[in-house]
Symmetry: D2
Subunit: 148 residues, 4 copies
Amino acid sequence: MPAYQYVHDVMLRDCETSGIVFLPRYFEMVHTVIENWLDEALDWPMSQIQGSDALTLPFVNISAEFSAPSRLGDRLTWRLSVRELRRSSIWVELVATTGAETRASITGTLVLSEGVALRTRRWPDPIAERVKDYLVTPNGNIRNKVAE
Amino acid sequence: MPAYQYVHDVMLRDCETSGIVFLPRYFEMVHTVIENWLDEALDWPMSQIQGSDALTLPFVNISAEFSAPSRLGDRLTWRLSVRELRRSSIWVELVATTGAETRASITGTLVLSEGVALRTRRWPDPIAERVKDYLVTPNGNIRNKVAE
Amino acid sequence: MPAYQYVHDVMLRDCETSGIVFLPRYFEMVHTVIENWLDEALDWPMSQIQGSDALTLPFVNISAEFSAPSRLGDRLTWRLSVRELRRSSIWVELVATTGAETRASITGTLVLSEGVALRTRRWPDPIAERVKDYLVTPNGNIRNKVAE
Amino acid sequence: MPAYQYVHDVMLRDCETSGIVFLPRYFEMVHTVIENWLDEALDWPMSQIQGSDALTLPFVNISAEFSAPSRLGDRLTWRLSVRELRRSSIWVELVATTGAETRASITGTLVLSEGVALRTRRWPDPIAERVKDYLVTPNGNIRNKVAE
């Protein structure tokens, strides 16, 4: 499976008093993985998206399962892949594991929008091309959708 | 519908550079609403749950829809209700609105666990009784489940 | 002493695994106190400052002493006062106490700036007038400085 | 000058709506640098400090100057050095630069404490030895202090 990989060691800022990772901090990690993927894999850093491109890329939905808690010092390996590439949105999947154990499974939809009005915007073609490398099942249907 | 209500004005710490609320900050708000509900409505503050009771109450899953973006200064009214009360877990629903507009709809499952081992733990009876005031459809089935 | 007061109960999001408030969370509280003071006491909410006024109000320095740790559930009473009001900046002091015990003493300088260029900007007169109610030692010298 | 170096690219989670880094996020970066230094340079990860060693290492004071704002996408190079090593505390200095420009200069005191009671605790000798590599002016006086 094609996947972008990002390693994060759980730090004090991620944890609460019971010793486990605090819910909102998982979503900070999710965003960190996505911003690094945009920059390193798609060559489209968030500073350009929100800067010269005057776009924004917010989540419109997200869903998460935490099958086991994570603790201070745990090394989480995040893997990002793309479930579907649509005209102006993208359905991503992120899984965090420590060794053989899955800690978090997250899917969500990011929508490309014009900065101020937040109207949806079609993906730039070169970006859409690069995204396809991370599709879980890159098949004709999805390509056709993008091409429509 | 029975619901616990909490008002939050969107502040700088909640927003990112495009001017809208940043995904992880919504989940900080969710936790703030829940901790205030535990304290004010159930008379069971998190400092007691994690302190003298040596328990913890993490999310094992959560799902969110963001139907419209929120911005600096928006007054979000959060409403928390309970979809189901189970032996050691609780299925909560939180909705954030500004005026007539829904901004976020979130459901998730919190599991009561023993602090260190994170083994599940049955709800204390007086807490379960108070939770029932917030059930979306408080009927016999749910009461039976709790009583088993 | 004239002071704006704000009460915050320490929540999970504020604490780290050793059970005490995590350093950066104190500064989130500081900003929350300041944004509430701007809104409630000066009638100048941050959404207006950064919105229609196209200004920004960042810290250029800050200094903090933590004389005792704070824990989950502690009720912190924050008091904000103004040490000095200058042409385009303000020197604020914030103290957090629990009962008779001081937990944090913080002083810092906020500079009023034009949004994009971050050039300094003179305080609007009506705002400067309201700020004076919070001056620790409101005397002629300070008034003269403002009037220059 | 001996210094531990850590590079951080400013991300969405660090910034507020005016486009610059939000004050509390600088202190999250400070803690991230320190925790990585403890782990990589001193071979003493926070998970061990708070875990098997049952210690904690909170700041008792901190002071910061922000000579220029930082923005989304800026690459900040943090440098950590040690101004003084005392019996149970340490006075650290962190400077963040982008190219030739200094963005933040921060000094603060961390105190080694026993986990629950927060009583101060002498540095373990092997840790103190490693810390000396990062002393700004490693001279006889400081070594004598440690040896006392």
